[in-house]
């Protein structure tokens, strides 16, 4: 029995490493089940333990993986061992190959260890592409072997590897979601297909309704100012025969913030801006009044009522000449700052952009000026947070204002909750 319990404790540890929140209580429950039920059928054991350990669909998927890996028959364990050995051998062989391939003019390319791993794990086709690119530039490098050119080649090479790393990270994220609706909530907005849009819109409506309800509750239970409202207390006391059973307090005056939205609608940002606007518009009570500025190379102030219909929003962006242009955030922010009454101490400036802009120093200067004028500046960034370290403009901008990741609908909802506070 003690061996049995030891194994179970080990299994609990494995589940923790898989990301499940397993406490003593779960392990205790599992022990009780196995001791009391005298289970012999593997499927029943799996199902019983899954009920105890896994607390969501995602955890169920992780549990099944861990269970299948942990409780294996002798034959399967032997087969797995053989497979692992083969894989380890193949990996060692690829490492040796990579060492030979990752050379320029007989010298190994100076690459970080994690990027070397990315290269080793890349598909055959991608590696061939990369080698072809190196091969093409090899002649030029031989002719002009100056340092500048070879460092340029190395930077191109590293960028390619970084992109591959991002693709691999995305693929891993995609595997985790198993429920279509849940997957939609956690999927990168830029990966939405046309067929997903109606479901995403329904999901946004549901979340916005909750946010609206949350906001109205905050106001209902927003507390009193501490001062007794004599008139109302006496009037309510009449209902209970003159006893002051329920006291009434003076309500706090509600000051709602004004919102200025600066939406990037350049090619890559259109879909995200559309979703973000849909969110913000549906939270009808978020702000006293809002001004919406759309920008790419120029800035347009838009009537919020004209954007009620999202088809109209797309049409507007396409006909305004903003779509498909580059991004000049610095100029856009300067124009917003210069506009009388656009920003002020009670205004929250909300920037929806991926930070990819021309003239980053100018954009940074304008952002500082906007921060000085507005009460609060929040940046909603559709690039997943994991990729931020690879993008220089994000590092610059996030140092200057609060930046929130909004690559998924779930993150967008969280950001909106933050906006309510």
């Amino acid at each position: 029995m003690s061996v049995y319990l030891e194994k179970l404790a080990e299994f609990s540890g494995l589940l923790r490493r898989e990301g499940l929140t397993v406490g003593l209580r779960e392990t205790e429950d599992a022990c009780r089940l196995l001791a009391d039920w005298n289970l012999t059928d593997r499927e029943t054991v799996r199902c019983a333990l899954e009920t105890v350990y896994a607390k969501s669909r995602e955890e169920q998927a992780a549990f099944r993986r861990a269970f299948d890996g942990f409780f294996v028959s002798v034959e399967r364990r032997e087969a797995l061992r053989r497979r692992h050995e083969e894989e380890a051998q193949a990996l060692a062989q690829r490492r040796a190959e990579a060492e030979r391939e990752l050379q320029v003019n007989g010298h190994p390319i100076d690459l970080r260890e994690d990027l070397q791993e990315v290269y080793i794990r890349m598909g055959e086709e991608k590696r061939r592409e990369l080698m072809e690119m190196l091969e093409k530039t090899r002649g030029t490098m031989d002719r002009s072997p100056d340092k500048l050119y070879s460092s340029f080649i190395r930077s191109v090479f590293m960028r390619f590897l970084l992109e591959q790393q991002m693709v691999m990270e995305d693929a891993a994220v995609g595997c985790e979601a198993s429920d279509p609706d849940l997957a939609l909530l956690y999927r990168d907005i830029s990966h939405f297909k046309d067929a997903d849009v109606p479901r995403a819109a329904a999901l946004i409506d549901a979340i916005s309704r909750q946010l609206d309800a949350q906001l109205s509750r905050q106001r209902q239970t927003g507390g009193h100012s501490g001062k007794l409202d004599f008139k109302r207390t006496i009037r309510r006391g009449l209902e209970t025969g003159g006893s002051f059973y329920r006291l009434s307090y003076k309500r706090k005056r509600r000051t709602r913030r004004r919102l200025a939205l600066l939406c990037d609608v350049s090619g890559s940002m259109l879909q995200f801006s559309e979703f973000a606007l849909r969110f913000l518009k549906s939270m009808s009570d978020v702000s006293e009044s809002s001004q919406i500025f759309l920008f790419s190379e120029q800035v347009h102030l838009v009537d919020p009522f004209a954007l009620q219909n999202m088809d109209a929003f797309r049409d507007y962006v396409r006909t305004s000449g903003l779509y498909g242009r580059g991004t000049d955030l610095g100029s856009a922010l300067e124009q917003v700052c210069r506009r009388p009454g656009a920003l002020g101490p009670s205004t929250t400036l909300l920037i929806l952009s991926d930070t990819k802009t021309i003239d980053i120093p100018r954009a940074a200067r304008s952002l500082l000026e906007a921060r000085r004028q507005a009460g609060k500046v929040l940046w909603l960034n559709p690039i997943p947070e994991g990729k931020w370290p690879y993008v220089r403009s994000i590092q610059t901008m996030s140092a200057l204002c609060q930046m929130l990741p909004c690559s998924t609908l779930d993150e967008l909802a969280r950001a909106c909750r933050k906006l309510l506070r």
Binding site: T44, A48, V52, A54, A195, A206
Partner: protein
Amino acid sequence: MDISSLKARLDAAQYVCDDGLATTLLVALQLGRPLLIEGAAGVGKTEIAKVMAGALDRELVRLQCYEGLDESKALYEWNYQKQLLSIQVRMNRQDPDELTRSLFGDEYLLERPLLRSIRSEKPVVLLIDEIDKADEEFEAFLLELLSEMQVTIPEVGTMRAKSVPFVVLTSNRARPLSEALRRRCAYLYIPYPDVEKEVAIIRAKLPHAGDRLAVQVAQAVHDLRENDAILKKPSIAETLDWVSALEALGISDLDREAARRTLGFVLKSSEDMEAALACEEAPDHHHCGACGHAGQP
């Protein structure tokens, strides 16, 4: 009780369930843990609580959650009118301290579902339906009940459960539930049934329905659920309604015309109906559910 006997009891209550579901229910029951059931609307989450009440021969106490639900609706409320009346009547006849104490007795306590379930002498099945519709504060309020099987009423003190209820919480996943709530529950996810299981459900609930019709309807509903353009997927209850409607019209074979005439029993919005019919008329159309020829044996 073991898995097979629970399954037999559920079968007797005409609830079609597999070994996995029966195991999960029995684990939650024997460990005394609340059971959190998630799944799309209409897959039979609430039904589980009802049939468990029948199978265990217990009373079903139901708490329907909604936005703004608070403890006065879920746990208890004092009967203020009765208290005031009592004060007026007994003001000069009783010791004031005694009077105050008596005002917070059982006589003035209005029991709501949660309190009723833990004060019941016999164990009950407590259904907390659509917990995702309640507020996060209410979720936090439930934690004491779910983990300790006790509730605290400030004027009275802590009340421990006289009998441990079998608690079933259901959620349509309209919002993620807190980690703290999940930790206190056993978990069950119910997907839409496959065609085979849905045929079994139709046979169990509508034994007079023809076999051919049952298979055709189950296949058609399955196809409708697979259709991405349809937003509100048909529930099991709607499948049963559809079969009943077809039977009432004397239709024993689900052909295209019959499906078109009765589609309103299974799709409840004009957009979804249009999407299903548009899919049927598409040149590369295979099976969408609305055409009625899917899955003919």
